[in-house]
């Protein structure tokens, strides 16, 4: 078969001629020839330079039969060599993840054809079992559809007036919530930057989780400032408790401490605030946050459940993590006293001995419910009842 001659007509290399040349070369094997002709005066100059750069050889027509082209390319193999041992990075669907994606797949889309070699970004959470839960893709979809706008989801203009000291209690609780939400934002954000993007549904889920927390920080701050006053206090002990969450490098342990135990307890707290809120705005912001938190807890529980079926030693590591955290916090006060007092006042609603007693009782019940919830989740993860009770008791007094 006579070698093909590509006619570029008026198209120059300054306007994309290489695309047509490249396309014509695709059909040839290394060593085969392609003639190129066209009307651009600089055709030979540019074709020669382009081919040199891409590993093809070029020569001028030599025989009479070659004169229908202005130049002849002898196809090289550099482009083929580049893709010779490329491989698919798994498949696009969540069912097509591989257990241990190679480091050099890095940021490539799952299912893309990946050129071999290249940098290996430091994604150290690079085994499926380290991060995965079957529920991750559907939780992500749900999370993405459940995003709300802080501007419109809360009726910021609703009229209410609280007694000064009740308002101050609300502000103190909000101040505490913001501090905890910020920890809950930073922890998944740090983890998600370490996850191999091959497990993208987990990365996406944690990204939306971090975005959830960003909105929680937003609405709690706005509620605190609604009365135009100052924020409440932040104690060393509260920040110490949160600091121990930030420093846990193990994905499963971090997820256990933050999502299962911490956010699990927060679910009860937000429910308590929703029920006992002295004003509609407090009720709305806590109710909105609570829906998101339920999802955060669900992923943590599902991931650890998945993990514990694969790794029988997981439970002893979880136990050790709770004990370690307890030991490092045991000489601290735990919950900021101002926060505890504010919860009582908020639940009491007024400054009579009877009301304070009622508030006190409600907060005691809240702590009991938190304890029950933690124990229930621990049992779900396979801990025997007595051990679940003991571990729940060791959980930080700061709730989160």
């Amino acid at each position: 078969m006579a070698p093909r001659v590509l006619d570029l007509r008026g198209l120059s290399f300054e306007s994309g001629a290489h695309l047509l040349v490249q396309r014509a070369l695709r059909d040839l094997a290394p060593g085969q020839r392609l003639g190129v002709t066209g009307a651009d005066p600089a055709l030979e100059v540019h074709l020669r330079a382009w081919c040199r750069r891409h590993g093809h050889r070029v020569r001028s027509p030599e025989t009479e039969g070659e004169r229908d082209a202005r130049a002849w390319i002898e196809r090289g193999s550099a482009d083929l060599d580049r893709w010779a041992d490329a491989e698919r990075a798994g498949g696009p669907s969540a069912a097509d993840t591989v257990a241990t994606p190679p480091g050099h797949w890095g940021l490539a889309a799952r299912g893309a054809l990946v050129e071999s070699g290249g940098p290996e970004p430091p994604f150290d959470l690079n085994h499926r079992d380290l991060v995965w839960a079957e529920i991750a893709p559907s939780l992500y979809r749900h999370a993405a559809s459940a995003q709300w706008d802080p501007e419109t989801a809360v009726d910021w203009g609703s009229e209410f007036a609280l007694p000064d000291e009740i308002e101050r209690a609300v502000v103190q609780v909000m101040t505490y919530l913001v501090e905890n939400e910020q920890a809950a934002l930073v922890v998944p954000a740090r983890l998600l930057a370490r996850i191999h993007p091959h497990f993208r549904e987990v990365m996406q889920l944690l990204a939306v989780q971090a975005a959830d927390e960003a909105r929680h920080v937003d609405v709690f701050t706005r509620r605190a400032l609604l009365s135009g006053g100052e924020l409440g206090t932040s104690s060393v002990s509260g920040r110490e408790s949160l600091e121990t969450l930030l420093t846990e490098p193990d994905f499963s342990l971090a997820s256990f401490l933050l999502s299962v135990l911490g956010e699990g307890s927060f679910l009860n707290l937000l429910e308590f605030l929703d029920t006992n809120a002295p004003d509609p705005v407090t009720r709305q912001v806590t109710a909105l946050a609570r829906r998101d938190e339920a999802r955060h807890v669900a992923f943590g529980v599902a991931h650890l459940h998945h993990q514990s079926t694969l790794d029988p030693a997981l439970r002893s590591r979880l136990r050790a993590a709770v004990e370690r955290r307890h030991d490092s916090l045991q000489d601290t006060a735990g919950l900021n006293q101002d926060v505890f007092d504010s919860l009582v006042v908020l639940a009491a609603g007024e400054w009579t001995p009877d009301a304070i007693a009622r508030g006190w009782e409600k907060v005691r019940k809240l702590q009991e419910e938190m304890d029950d919830g933690r124990q229930r989740r621990l049992v779900h993860l396979g801990f025997p009842g007595d051990e679940a009770a003991e571990l729940s008791r060791l959980h930080t007094r700061n709730f989160m």
Partner: protein, 283 residues
């Protein structure tokens, strides 16, 4: 004994390239190391003095090594070169609407060249103009764009400035290597169709890996063999080959430096013994 190669640090990527090649060469049992120079002149002198075994040379540095070696009773050879070092051409560009149809039409006009020591943008084009009957500095005014002097034209800045001056109407023609005319068009420095190729030089060769006869024979042979065996299909090598701008190493050859040698003599860049005699050249 370590085979020691010199290279010129015309860009920070040079460290990445040769440190990467070094790892690979050492993994293939060649005791190899490199040193970097800030310009080609000292590297050429050190090679011929035997302080280096090999030097990754510009074509101009190759010619100087040849002359220095001959004067010292030594011999240098081009061991290998990149596939992209073979058969380059330079082009003389004019604006698309220029009234010039031939090189002779440039008489009395201004031509932009690159750095004083650029083979592709200054020395070879200057000789080309002379062949075409225009003596630089007499029949045409030369406006030089001295960027990266001492790097023998490795710095692209002079050529880019020259074509910008052409576009701005400050000069009537500009000389650049063919690959840069393609690049400037594709990157947008030159809008499509804004320039016309007035003339193209005959092909010439560019860099080579120069070895000196004081270097130990067997390591030099092995060095050449290993470079030639580097494969673009090897994922560890490909990024380095891409950085260095080649897809394979080829045998060195001496036949492609004739035009530059003439230019060196015509401009008095080096004398016959390889001394730097170019005026206004401070590497």
């Amino acid at each position: 004994m370590t085979l020691l190669m010199g290279g010129v640090a015309y860009d920070p990527k040079v460290v990445t390239i040769w440190a990467g090649f070094r790892d690979w060469l050492r993994a293939h049992d060649l005791d190899y190391d490199f040193v970097l120079y800030s310009n080609y002149e000292r590297q050429a002198e050190d090679l011929v003095a035997g302080r280096l075994d090999a030097a990754w040379n510009s074509p101009l540095a190759w010619l100087r090594c040849e002359r220095l070696a001959a004067a010292a009773g030594r011999r240098v050879d081009p061991l290998v070169m990149r596939d992209t070092d073979r058969d380059l051409t330079s082009v003389l560009l004019v604006r698309a609407d220029s009234g010039c149809a031939t090189v002779a039409d440039l008489k009395g006009r201004t031509v932009a060249l690159g750095a004083v020591d650029s083979p592709q943008a200054t020395l070879i084009p200057a000789t080309f103009l002379r062949r075409e009957g225009l003596v630089p500095g007499e029949d045409v005014t030369i406006r030089r764009f001295d960027v990266g002097v001492g790097l023998h034209g490795d710095h692209i800045g002079g050529e880019r400035d020259a074509v910008r001056a052409l576009l701005a109407g400050e000069v009537d023609a500009a000389a650049v290597v063919d690959a840069n005319h393609l690049l400037f068009g594709q990157e947008g420095t030159l809008p499509p169709g804004s320039t016309r190729v007035l003339a193209q030089t005959p092909p010439y060769d560019h860099c080579n890996m120069t070895v000196v006869d004081t270097a130990p024979e067997e390591p030099v042979r092995r060095f050449g063999e290993l470079l030639l065996s580097m494969s673009y299909a090897d994922p560890a090598m490909r990024p380095l080959l891409d950085l260095e701008g080649l897809s394979r190493w080829e045998d060195g050859r001496t036949g492609g430096y004739g035009a530059l040698a003439v230019a060196v003599d015509e401009t008095g860049f080096y004398d016959a013994e390889g001394r730097v005699t170019a005026p206004e050249y401070v590497p």
